[in-house]
């Protein structure tokens, strides 16, 4: 096609028969492909509609406004059996989001620690990290979830004989119960003070950078920021009369009542996904750091830069360029693996959707909702990571 275009760009096609024109041929084959695709899609959709009609199955998304009639054990937003199916799906979505985000954060932290540990000169740390990676990388995630659920959390004491930790935290096979803070009148000022402190910290950091670039003088950023972020809200908190109380869990007839409870379903899924994905992240981190040529470190040392600064300013920024793209895949994997929640009864999007599917029989609609939500989540994660990657990428001048 390209040859024809370069030979006679303004004419649009070369001399000779129209059949031999590469451009016409290209358009022809693409049109054929599109037509086949369109017919195929039409056939699938028409077939589905016809079969649904034949089986007397009502279709459409109207069911999301009907009363759900069932309860959900773990919900961060208000939900009762009188709520709608749509609300139930939202509960599932929020639960998926929570386990994905907390899992990603934890997996990243563990992954970086283990990945750096594998490069350690300390033999024990290096071998322990290696063992960690090989164990968790080679076990299916479902088994890791069962390990945490049945092997660790289920053997904890019964709720009535819960282990009592400091600060009124109770651990039992029903999960971890801890005091729930109740914010009283005026606590919004403390939050406001915290936000102001964070904003101020950013400005100070920028000022310090500019100051250093201009004069070479370093401003003690860390201590100032710490003082601001902790001190300012603390002073506000005390000044407004410490408007905070706690709802402490108390042993009830069956369970601990009051306080907040994180159930074993969430914990096992969260821990399993974090530990499993961390094994892969560790390898990515190791590869990233190894991928930075040794000459870079040596050059930095030759310039008299201290080892710690060399790592922070020379090695890590270059390693990040190698790490970020595969890291994105791991984040996507973790999000999608969270649908294994169904095995331990965590009310994620798939578990709640499955219940709705069973109760309403709206299989196609529920499955399409799953597809769209996971696709959206994954694309959003990708977009964010691509943006971050672009920021970290080598700036070529």
């Amino acid at each position: 096609m390209a040859i024809g275009v370069t030979n006679a760009p303004e004419k649009g096609r070369s001399s000779g028969s129209i059949i031999n024109d590469p451009q016409v041929r290209g358009i022809f084959y693409q049109a054929i492909t599109i037509i086949i695709l369109a017919v195929l899609i039409y056939w699938i959709v028409d077939n589905t509609i016809e079969n649904l009609r034949r089986a007397n199955i009502a279709s459409g998304y109207g069911f999301v406004r009907s009363r759900a009639g069932f309860d959900v054990g773990q919900s961060l937003i208000a939900f009762t059996s009188d709520s709608t199916y749509g609300r139930a799906l939202l509960v599932g979505f929020v639960n998926t989001l929570v386990v994905a985000i907390t899992g990603i954060v934890t997996a990243t932290i563990i992954g970086f620690l283990v990945g750096i540990g594998r490069l350690s000169h300390n033999w024990i740390i290096a071998k322990l990290s290696l063992a960690y990676v090989e164990v968790f990388r080679n076990i299916p995630p479902l088994l890791v979830i069962f390990f945490w659920y049945s092997g660790v959390l289920a053997v904890l004491p019964q709720a009535r004989e819960a282990l009592t930790l400091p600060l009124n935290v109770f651990v039992s096979n029903r999960g971890v119960a801890f005091p729930r803070p109740i914010f009283g009148e005026g606590s919004e000022y403390t939050v406001l003070a915290f936000l102001i402190a964070v904003a101020a910290s950013f400005l100070i950091a920028r000022y310090a950078n500019r100051q250093q670039a201009a004069t070479g003088q370093r401003f003690p950023v860390l201590w100032t920021v710490l003082g601001l972020v902790i001190g300012l809200p603390l002073i506000t908190f005390l000044a407004t009369g410490a408007p905070l109380s706690f709802d402490v869990p108390i042993a009830g007839k069956f369970n601990l009542t009051g306080g907040s409870v994180v159930g074993p379903e969430f914990l096992s899924l969260y821990l399993a996904l974090s530990f499993y994905t961390a094994a892969f992240i560790a390898e990515i981190v190791r590869a990233g750091i190894r991928g930075v040529s040794k000459g870079q470190t040596e050059a930095a040392h030759a310039l008299g830069i201290r080892p710690r600064l060399t790592t922070r300013l020379v090695v890590v920024p270059q390693a990040m360029r190698i790490i970020i793209p595969p890291l994105t895949s791991q984040y996507l994997n973790l999000t999608k693996n969270s649908s294994l929640a169904i095995a331990v009864g965590y009310a994620d999007l798939v578990a709640v959707g499955g219940t709705i599917l069973n109760q309403t029989g709206q299989a196609i609609e529920v499955v399409s909702i799953w597809l769209i939500v996971y696709l959206t989540l994954s694309l959003a994660t990708s977009l964010f990571m691509n943006w971050y990657n672009a920021r970290m990428a080598l700036v070529e001048r």
Binding site: W43, N173, G345, T355
Partner: protein, 341 residues
């Protein structure tokens, strides 16, 4: 389009088979092949499960045997088809089985849309609760604040939500997709309460690590009438299955047992004489399409309803289910046979 044509063909084929099976007399078919093909549960302790030597035993299995005894005078002329919950209806619709005795709830949808005839109810079941004895709970109304294990996507889950809501009780549902997962979670103490059909609870309790530590609460929060089912449109076969059940009930009411049935034939009570087919010119059995010995054969094969119940799921079995609603009508239950005359 090919798919649509295929669907249509399969649909037509199924309809054809259904129509054929409905029009043919099942009794004649059964007599011709010499045995009854009976659909049973793949394994539910007390209802239908193979024993150590591979013979099917249980409450539902005894119903298959009773019908075989009524038809052939020989309870062994039964072949069993173990069916899962999903397989059971197509198996009966297609004529693969002659009789479905598989702890199946009678509902209007199954009676009409699926084209079956249910009746009579041989076991009145309902959703119940199981708890640990150490909790000292005597009633489901004391369960506020409990964690409840339940299988997801079932009517059980909906009944549970409705019951706790209407009684203003708080609870924390712990839901799983598979029955085995619910069992394991309850056994591990993840929840305080297990809810499903009450007969299922009794069967399940046997599989727990310490069955005696658990008790089943008296409350029943839903109606689950379990009944044998046959295809719609064959009234003769439907009558035979129905009256086999009523004969079992009537035998218990008369006090006729497997042991004393021969002796009872000499009874001077005209009702008993008529029932056992020893009355002069009796036509009850032949009107059913069977012999006049039909009731005697049933009782000889499996005993009366009370004996069937006790042996498989009642006091004489490991399940130890109380008669409750399944006691005779004159003993506080609702098992009742129309007059056999």
């Amino acid at each position: 389009m090919a798919r649509r044509i295929l669907t249509a063909l399969v649909g037509a084929a199924v309809m054809g088979i259904g129509a054929h099976a409905a029009s043919a007399a099942t009794l004649d078919d059964v007599k011709a092949k010499g045995f009854i093909q009976c659909g049973v549960n793949t394994g539910l302790a007390g209802f239908s499960a193979p024993d150590a030597s591979g013979n099917w035993t249980g409450f539902d299995v005894d119903y298959c045997k009773a019908v075989a005894a009524a038809v052939f005078g020989d309870a062994s002329k039964v072949k069993y088809t173990p069916l899962s919950a999903k397989e059971r209806f197509p198996a009966l619709q297609s004529g693969e089985v002659d009789l479905l005795a598989r702890n199946t709830t009678w509902s209007i949808n199954r009676d009409t849309a699926l084209g079956f005839n249910f009746r009579p109810v041989n076991y009145y079941d309902g959703q119940g609760f199981m708890v640990r004895k150490e909790l000292n709970v005597k009633s489901a109304l004391e369960l506020s604040g409990a964690a409840v294990c339940v299988q997801t996507g079932t009517t059980t889950e909906l009944n549970l939500a409705d019951y706790f809501k209407s009684n203003n009780l708080q609870y924390n549902p712990v839901v799983f997709e598979k029955l085995e997962e619910v069992n394991a979670a309850y056994d591990a103490g993840r929840c305080d309460v297990y809810t499903t059909d009450q007969s299922g609870l009794y069967a399940l309790r046997l599989t727990l690590s310490k069955p005696d530590d658990h008790m089943i609460l008296p409350e029943i929060i839903s109606k689950e009438p379990l009944a044998p089912a046959v295809r719609q449109g064959d009234d003769q076969w439907f009558d035979i299955v129905s009256w086999t059940h009523f004969a079992l009930i009537q035998a218990e009411e008369f006090g006729i047992t497997q042991a004393n049935v021969e002796e009872m034939k000499k009874s001077t009570n005209p009702d008993v004489q008529r029932f056992l087919g020893v009355e002069a010119d009796s036509k009850i059995g032949t009107d059913l399409g069977l012999t006049n010995e039909w009731a005697v054969n049933i009782i000889k094969a499996v005993g009366n309803y009370g004996e069937v119940f006790d042996r498989n799921i009642g006091t004489g079995s490991p399940l130890k289910i109380e008669r409750g609603l399944n006691a005779l009508w004159n003993k506080g239950g609702i098992q009742y046979a129309p007059p056999i005359r």
